[in-house]
């Protein structure tokens, strides 16, 4: 009898996956990731309040100053406050991430779903993904920038282009896998419609992997977009971006060390933070499954 109760408790505990996911972010690596990203997001959101200067304001007589109370990261070669530029750079970078990663996920996910349902669409989608994936992401960025020129939009396009096939493949494979499961088979044989199976079984099943991929993609997106800005084919100067400020700082390493350290630290924290969140979620999912 007690054995039965224990079994019952286990069965009850299992389908509820919410606590598992939350656990991934409330301790260990996941928590560190959430805190790191949270701090940067806060800095970006509060930039207008925190920044002591406008990011494009040229302060008289403040040429390549070292770090000080008024200029925590010093000033750059055209007398702008580096700290303010980094804060506003966070905004642009996060804005691009916030637009491009979900857009890539949504488009890729939809294509993946459609591809998994119809044969001919699948062939087209797979070959199209092959072609996009034939370009390493940075090379893809260079190709797109060659057509569109510099600006925020090309960077958004590149991130979408790089992330879309990943989500497409992920959703397609996961959907095909779930459809093979006996209980989905059973539901279909009982006359369940495709849409019902999709909503009831497939989407909840693939949601976990999609969320992990979102965190990984956010990390990848920060890499790609700051790399493009670093190469000078992203956001147009004088608009500040983390990669752009870092590239400007490269020429002044000898005169103001903090100039480079500021954007460098923020990029590392962003990329690492999203990676840690992904690792935390993944670990929680593995733990929850066993």
């Amino acid at each position: 009898m007690t054995e039965l109760k224990a079994q019952e408790a286990q069965v009850k505990a299992e389908p509820d996956r919410r606590p598992v996911r939350r656990n991934g972010l409330t301790h260990g690596r996941g928590l560190v990731g959430v805190v790191l990203i949270g701090v940067i997001v806060l800095l970006g959101v509060l930039a207008p309040l925190l920044a002591p200067f406008s990011p494009q304001e040229q302060i008289e007589g403040a040429n390549l100053l070292g770090p000080s109370g008024t200029h925590p990261f010093g000033t750059d070669e055209v007398n702008r406050d580096v700290f303010s530029r980094v804060l506003y750079g966070i905004r642009i970078d996060l804005f691009i991430c916030l637009i491009a990663v979900p857009a890539g996920a949504l488009l890729g996910g939809l294509i993946g779903l459609v591809a998994s349902q119809t044969g001919i669409a699948d062939v087209f989608a797979q070959r199209a993904f092959d072609v996009v994936l034939a370009f390493p992401p940075i090379i893809l960025g260079i190709g797109i920038a060659a057509i569109t020129g510099t600006g925020v939009l090309p960077v958004v396009c590149v991130v979408i282009g790089a992330e879309l096939p990943l989500f497409g493949r992920l959703v397609r494979t996961a959907t095909l896998k779930v459809r093979e499961l006996p209980y989905v088979d059973a539901a279909e044989s009982m006359g369940a419609s495709r849409a019902w199976v999709l909503r009831k079984h497939i989407v909840p099943n693939i949601l976990d992997s999609v969320i992990v991929q979102l965190a990984l993609s956010a990390s990848g997106a920060v890499f790609i977009l700051s790399a493009m800005n670093f190469l000078g084919i992203g956001v147009k100067p004088p608009e500040p971006s983390l990669g752009g400020v870092l590239a400007d700082a490269m020429a002044q390493l000898g005169s103001n060390t903090m100039y480079a350290v500021g954007p460098l630290l923020v990029i590392v924290v962003l990329v690492l933070g999203f990676q840690l969140i992904a690792q935390g979620l993944l670990a929680a999912r593995r733990g929850g499954a066993s």
């Binding site: 390493p136 940075i138 090379i139 260079i142 990390s219 060390t257 990029i267 690792q279």
Partner: protein, 319 residues
Amino acid sequence: MTAYLLRRLPSLALVLAAASVLIFAVIRLVPGDPATALAGANATPEAVEAIRAELGLDRPWVTQYFAWLGGLLTFDPGRSYLIGGTIGSLITESLGNTLLLASSSLFLAVLTALVLGPLWAGTRKPWLEHLLTGINTLAVAVPTFVMGVALILLLGVLVPVLPSGGVPRDGLLANPSITVQYLLLPAVCLALPIGAVLTRYVAESLRTEMAQPYVVTALAAGVSRRRVLLRHALRNVLPTSLTVLGLQTGALLGGAVLVEFTFSWPGLGLLIERAITGRDYPVVQVLLILSVVVFAVLQLLTDVAHALLDPRVRLGGAR
């Protein structure tokens, strides 16, 4: 093996053909008139006309595409408008530098994985495991160019022991010991993410492998753990590790652009960066198609090597 290749080649050809059409379209999709853009701001109308005729922009697209493709296949891809000289000579000048950088990085990456992978999998010291995990996570996550700037800052500026970029004045071949100094930072930088991914993969596969029955048998027969790990488990892990390394070639190509830019290393990556900022489209196109071909061929070679080492892959599709 032939059957395996025959199965793979058509899809490869298809992808390359589609990519070449896309890349060809680059010059047509540029807003405004490409000839005007290439001729520069102060060009005379005659100069613009001359470029238009040279690129064949007045002919139909299909003719242009095949003329361009023909040029590529006969190693005569035209000339550079910004930098000067033929694209062929620009590429031969830079190719050696990129190959040196890429091969040194690959060597470093593989060496790291072969040394640290077994160490990570075999260690029983928690502190060492945590240390390796931490370093690995950082090395995977930190973008190559960020690592590059950090290294330049540390070892080139704050403690100036290594040159912070460029190449030796007398060329790379004049004095190997000086060349190594210039090569070290960019190569380490490019090797880090690739080596880190590979190391993690080798370590994780080794851990799985060490739980296999044959390992348990060998251990029970009195073979030392170290010997089982290095002589038996590692050998079984290598074929799939090779595939993982092959998948990293995309990171190698993209990383090369960033590393060469960061360290002013005069290779193909720096050339494409110069071409793109100078809007030298013919050069951009050739370098784009080159990188796609190299990427595709490297992936095919990896798969072929994997198939040679593992008959299951080779025969897998025959069912």
